[in-house]
């Protein structure tokens, strides 16, 4: 029976009639193009990176947060360019003016010494943001390296890491940090003496000290997370395969393990920025953090706490900025988390 016998079908010259031949053709096609018949359109292949980008940019909150964050960072770090008032200048005029609520001239009002509060908030932001970013970066770096090594090499390195982190988790983190800050700024010990320098000029500003102490005590959290990730990835078969092919430890870590852990690491690093900002502001509020003459948002709130019921603007604005920054960072962090692993729900 040939195709031409069937009244419903029209055969054209040159078409194969034999099913076996057609089958063979199909096989050839498949081998040649690695796709079944060009008539079947399949969804275009996407690389990991493209998928990630698509998911991230799709996340409306994350986008909003990112944009706002970038805008704030630019505005704050380039304050010299556009903020007319001096946040620190004390003149007899300002001292006479004293505290004032927001007005057209002073958008955020003035502080106790008559200084423009808006300018102060913006410039204080430089310190707060710097600390947030610095702590996140350094603690992530140290934590990733140690956590990866502990997870990968195991045994005593791992045990050591776990014992150290246990030690510092036995009391609430804020307490540990407060002690650390006090220690690092005290002239009674060599570390503090080094930090404070000799003479009048301190060798390091309080912001650098804070970054250092927070990072030194904060990397442990990161290390724990990274260690956990490495442990779970280590068990996967492709690692075994790489080892069987003779890959060196270094290569396995850098080419196989870390790229697979990168998701949680990045997400945690982002969220660490927010945590660092809040932690610094809390410590400054309690008196352990940023010291005058420098100021941060938390420090400004410390100053505000005594007389806020008549001068709420002193209270609202620094806190609002902290809130906004942390919110945006959290949005971005969540967006990253969704983009890396769509299975984890909001």
């Amino acid at each position: 029976m040939t195709a031409t016998d069937d009244p419903h079908k029209v055969a054209t010259a040159g078409d194969p009639v034999d099913p076996e031949a057609h089958y063979a053709e199909l096989l050839e096609d498949e081998v040649a193009t690695e796709e079944v018949g060009s008539e079947v359109a399949s969804t275009p292949p996407r690389s990991q990176w493209q998928l990630f980008r698509r998911r991230f940019f799709r996340h409306k909150l994350a986008m909003f947060g990112l944009v706002l964050l970038l805008f704030m960072c630019l505005a704050i770090f380039f304050a010299d360019v556009w903020v007319p008032q001096d946040p620190n200048e004390l003149t007899s005029e300002t001292l006479l003016t004293g505290v004032e609520p927001p007005s057209g001239e002073h958008w955020f009002g003035t502080d106790n010494n008559g200084r423009d509060y808006f300018a102060r908030v913006i410039y204080a932001g430089q310190i707060s943001l710097k600390i947030g970013l610095g702590v996140a970066l350094i603690s992530t770096f140290i934590g990733t390296v140690t956590g990866a090594m502990a997870g990968f090499f195991g045994r005593w390195i791992d045990q050591l890491l776990m014992r150290i982190t246990d030690l510092f988790l036995i009391v609430p983190g804020i307490a540990v940090l407060a002690v650390g800050l006090k220690f690092a700024t005290s002239p009674e010990n060599p570390v503090g003496r080094f930090v404070l320098g000799d003479g009048n000029e301190p060798r390091f500003g309080t912001d650098s000290i804070i970054i250092f102490v927070l990072a030194m005590l904060g990397w442990m959290q990161v290390a724990r997370v990274v260690r956990g990730q490495v442990l779970s990835v280590k068990e996967k078969e492709f690692v075994e395969a790489a080892r069987a092919v003779g890959a060196s430890n270094f290569r396995i870590i850098t080419r196989h393990l870390l790229p697979n852990c990168i998701g949680p690491i990045v997400v945690n690093a982002t969220l660490a920025i927010a945590v660092a900002i809040v932690t610094e502001s809390t410590l400054s509020f309690l008196g352990f953090g940023v010291q005058p003459p420098e100021t941060s948002w938390g420090h400004m709130l410390n100053q505000a706490k005594s007389n806020f019921n008549f001068n709420e603007h002193l209270l609202y604005f620094p806190g609002l900025f902290i809130l906004l920054t942390v919110l945006c960072v959290n949005f971005v962090g969540d967006g990253l988390r969704d983009a890396f692993d769509p299975q984890s729900r909001r």
């Binding site: 014992r163 246990d166 030690l167 510092f168 988790l169 036995i170 009391v171 609430p172 804020i174 307490a175 407060a178 002690v179 650390g180 006090k182 220690f183 005290s186 009674e188 010990n189 503090g192 927010a274 809040v278 502001s281 809390t282 509020f285 309690l286 008196g287 352990f288 938390g298 709130l301 505000a304 706490k305 806020f308 019921n309 709420e312 209270l315 609202y316 806190g319 902290i322 809130l323 942390v326 919110l327 959290n330 949005f331 984890s344 729900r345 909001r346």
Partner: protein
Amino acid sequence: MIVYVLRRILISIPVVLIASFLLFWFVRETFDPTARLRNVRDPEVVARETERLGLNDPVPVQYGNWLKEFVQGDWGESARTREPVADMTKRAFWNTVQLIFFGIFISAIAAVAIGVFGAIKQYSIPDYLLTGVSYLAIAMPPFWFGLLAINVLAFKVPEWAQRNDISFLGVDKRQVDFVGLHKARGSGVNEDYFRHLVLPVLTLSVQIIGSWSRFQRSAMLDVMSADYIRTARAKGVPRRKVIFKHGVRNALIPLVTVMAIDIGLLFGGLLVTETIFSIAGMGRMFVQALLQGDVAVLEAWMIVVAVFVIAFNLLADILYSVLDPRIRLS
């Protein structure tokens, strides 16, 4: 199980000892108790005081001396107030416990309710609202919220009510207090007590609820997409029962452990809340002691806090094994 508990306790002891030693050392290296004297008194007095405080001995020896006394019940005196540390600590602890008790009670109920609701009615308007609020709750620095709460509830609201002549439900008077747990010379559990509790408990709850409810919601979502939920539905189990008997029961497992650990940390962690509301609890005790280098107080604080952190971590593990029959403590 007893063996497991004992073993955990045994392992923790060295950790606590090492940590307390480190703390001792750091504090000694940070503060000089005779500093105030140096300017005022002549060197002989200073030398005598130094000797009296044992400051000439090497730090490990000083630590050993302190430890010896401590385990025998002599917790020393506060360098700041000369008050026996044991009494101070007991009082402070009791105050903190009250805050924790009420805070956790409210937070746990609210967080579970919000989390379950959000998971069931996912993507509904209330869910978006609640999610948004929890984002805010987590992002807000707790001390700022506390100050705002005082500002608004204790001042602004009565002012606004007075200005507009509204006295409905006593809105024109200040209904909440924000200094300590009782009015001066007040005591006991009474209306005044609760008026003082409202703001601090609210402040400490906000962050906790924000974090726990998000956790609960995500745990619920994970659980509700599990196969055994599908089986329960396929058996004809009514929806409410599926959610609670099958869903929540499983979602609570990870949440309960997180809760236990968080509560453990609260015993020493309410630094901010107690400072803002002038509540003489463990947190405030720590802050004041650290500002002065009051080593005896700091050490006592650390030991007590560490004990509770360890205890609650242990509780978390025990609860986990109780709730999840797949896990048995070895």
